[in-house]
Structure formats: C-alpha cells, structure tokens
Amino acid sequence: MAVMERVHRATPLERWAGLGAAALGWWALYSVNLPFWDWLLRDVVGLDLETRLGSGIHFFLYDTVKILLLLAGIIFLVTVLRSFMSVERTRAILGGRREGVGNVAAAALGVVTPFCSCSAVPAFIGFVAAGVPVGVTLSFLIASPLVNEVAIALLLGLFGWGPTLLYIGAGLTIAIVAGFILGRMRPERWIEPFVFETTLGGQAVDPGYALTWNDRVQMGLEEVRDILKKIWPYLLVGIGIGAAIHGWAPEQWFADHAGPENLLAVPLAVLLGVPLYSNAAGVLPMVEALFDKGLPMGTLLAFMMATVALSLPEMILLRRVLKPQLIGLFIAVVTVGIVAVGYLFNAVLPA
C-alpha cells in the first residue's frame, strides 16, 4: 500500500523519473535473463543444457522470468492506455449502431475497453437495457476475453508480430461473425425478462473521467499486482508442463499424430480446450513448447482460443441473464468459429 500512497502523492517530476527508472530496470532484467541462467546452470551448477533434465530446468527458469517480465510490462502499459476508455463510453458509442457495423465496433471496443469477465453480467444488463442490440453486446463479450492484453503480451514475446497479428485478426473476426449470427436468431426470447425490466436510474459516472496521471499509473500498478496474483499458479503449472514437454515429449509422436495432415487435430484441440479453464498465461508456455515439437500454429492457436474464450465460470455467471438455449448456441457458434480459424491458419502458415 505504501507504494500506492507514494504514487498517489507524486509530483510530475517524481512520477516521470520513477517511470523512467522502472523502464530501465525492466529492460536490464530482460536483457540479462538468458545469459544469467546459461551462466548459473552451466558454469556454476555444471548442468549439461543439452540433456533432457538440463534443458527442462533451463526452460522453466528462463521462461518464468521472461513471462513475468513481459506480463508486468505489457499489463501496465495497456492498463494506462485503457484508462482513457471506459465501459460507459463504449456503451455510448454502441448505443446508436445497427447490427453489422455495430458488431464490428463492439468487437474492436472489446479489445480496448478496460473490462473483466467478472463484470460480464452488469455490463450485459447495462448494454441491453440501454438499447444496444443483443448480438452486438455478445460481440463485445466474446472479443473482450479472447483478444486480451495477457494473450497479446505473451504471443508477441514468444512468437513475434506475425502470429500475434493473426491471432488478433482471427479473434476479432470470430467475435464479429458470432455476434452477428447470434443476433439474427432473435436472441431476445432467450434472455431473462428482468434484464428488459431494469430501468437505468442514477447518473452513470464515467471512471475514465477526471483521472490524473498519478491515478492512471496507480491503476496500472494495481492491475499488474492483481493479475499476477490471480494467474501465477496457472503460469507455474503451464510453464512446468511446458518444461516437461520441452525435455521429454517425443517429437516424432507429435509429428505422427498431431501434424497438419491429421484433419481431426484442430477439432480435438478445441474440444480439449473448451472445458479447460485457464488463461493465456497458463496455456502459452505449453503452446510454445508444443510449437517447438513441430505442432502447427493453427492447431495451437485454436486450442488457446478455446481455453480463453469459453470458460465454465463465465458461462455460469452469464446464466443469470441468458437462458440455457442461448448459452448453448453461444458456445456452439464460438466453437465452430475457432475450429474454422484453426484450419485456416494451418492452411496459410508454413509449418
């Protein structure tokens, strides 16, 4: 808390100096990460990094530090940038849109609006009661977890710009198309009636309004702390599995069973990913290790999308406002979209 109080009272000079020092420290840590573990494990501990055990341990330590640094840096930047947007502003933009254009706008806004799926229910009520079409609202709710800052940070750090941009494009397309299709099915009949009976009283306060730079920096730090606190167990398990795959999984087995020739690999990966509740931080270390083993990127991205886009806890939350028929259709349409994207990537990307 003491840090937050100091940020709260910082003068502009203190603030920019602090941010500059933090950026330098971040860059220094990121640069020494690989040489440090090489030196410690090979020269000090005397491990042979070519062996299974050696490369597994090296992967685990190096990846843990790298991913934590990437997450902290990108979550901070994204949160500060997003503090200029708000759900209230997004709703105001979407209010007058028709379906079609509205779906496109909703998916794009789902990426830039600060939002956590824990608020999916109040946001859903707020959007629909204010007259935003149901399909457009669903586009927003699909895009928001699918194309999130954690996924983008890690994809960029582990795979570079190409797969990251493909992922963002594919995620947006799925959100737009799925929301549009669901909107055509007259989904209003599958929404709990109280949503339409809710009258929006009160004066909506825009949380993005009147924030100082100190507030934004503080929000960035809080978000880094909260997200890391929430995802570190997933991260460690994910990197642990990744390290095991890295050291022990037989390359030939994957090539034979899950290569691009196996047409069932994509739907199987998606069906495996849907009930698995994790987040990008838990899944990406595994994806990285499996990619090294020669699995095609499309299959892996489809697996990852299925894990982050559809989660059981969010569906249970949404059950408060959506009837089971619409939840079922929602899952079905998004799943089909992800499978299609997986095939497309496998066809387009060289293995």
Binding site: M1, M4, E5, H8, S86, V87, E88, R91, P114, F115, C116, C118, S119, V121, P122, A123, I125, G126, F127, A129, F194, V195, E197, T198, T199, L200, G201, G202, Q203, A204, V205, P207, Q218, M219, E222, R320, V321
Partner: protein, 79 residues
C-alpha cells in the same frame, strides 16, 4: 450517511467495503453500510463494472478499488 457497496460478493467488493469503512472511521462519519448484490439493482445504479460505491443514492465511483485516502477525498465533501 447511508453507504452502499455494489457487487456480487467478489474480493474487490470486500476490499472496497474495507477501505470505505476505514475512510469513514478516519473522518468520524456516522455511516450505515449496506451490501447490494442483486444484479438488477446494481445495473439500476448505472454500474457496469463492479464494485460500485453509492452514498445516499448517488453513485460516486465504480470499476475499481481506490485507496482509503482516495475514498476519504470522495467522502469528505459529503460529510
């Protein structure tokens, strides 16, 4: 002063209630607290990101957990 904490019972809501009680105690306010967990009622205040802080039926803040001193700054003019 009647203070309502809006939220379905998540950790953020508990944290917001904690810092608000702290701030109210430091200001020496005579405040009653109420938790609002019903989604319809929460949305009725215009809140789309929980938690939300409502004082005497006016929404002061939503979507984040401020520090106790920030809540103090919000509550002080209303005392």
């Amino acid at each position: 002063m009647h203070i309502k904490i809006l939220g379905p019972g998540c950790t953020n809501c508990a944290n917001l209630e904690r810092v608000t009680r702290e701030a109210a105690a430091e200001l020496g306010l005579d405040a009653t607290f109420e938790k609002v967990t019903d989604y319809g009622a929460i949305a009725g205040y215009g809140v789309m990101r929980t938690p939300g802080l409502v004082v005497d039926e006016a929404l002061l803040m939503s979507g984040r957990v401020p520090t106790a001193s920030a809540v103090k700054e919000l509550l002080a003019p209303l005392a």
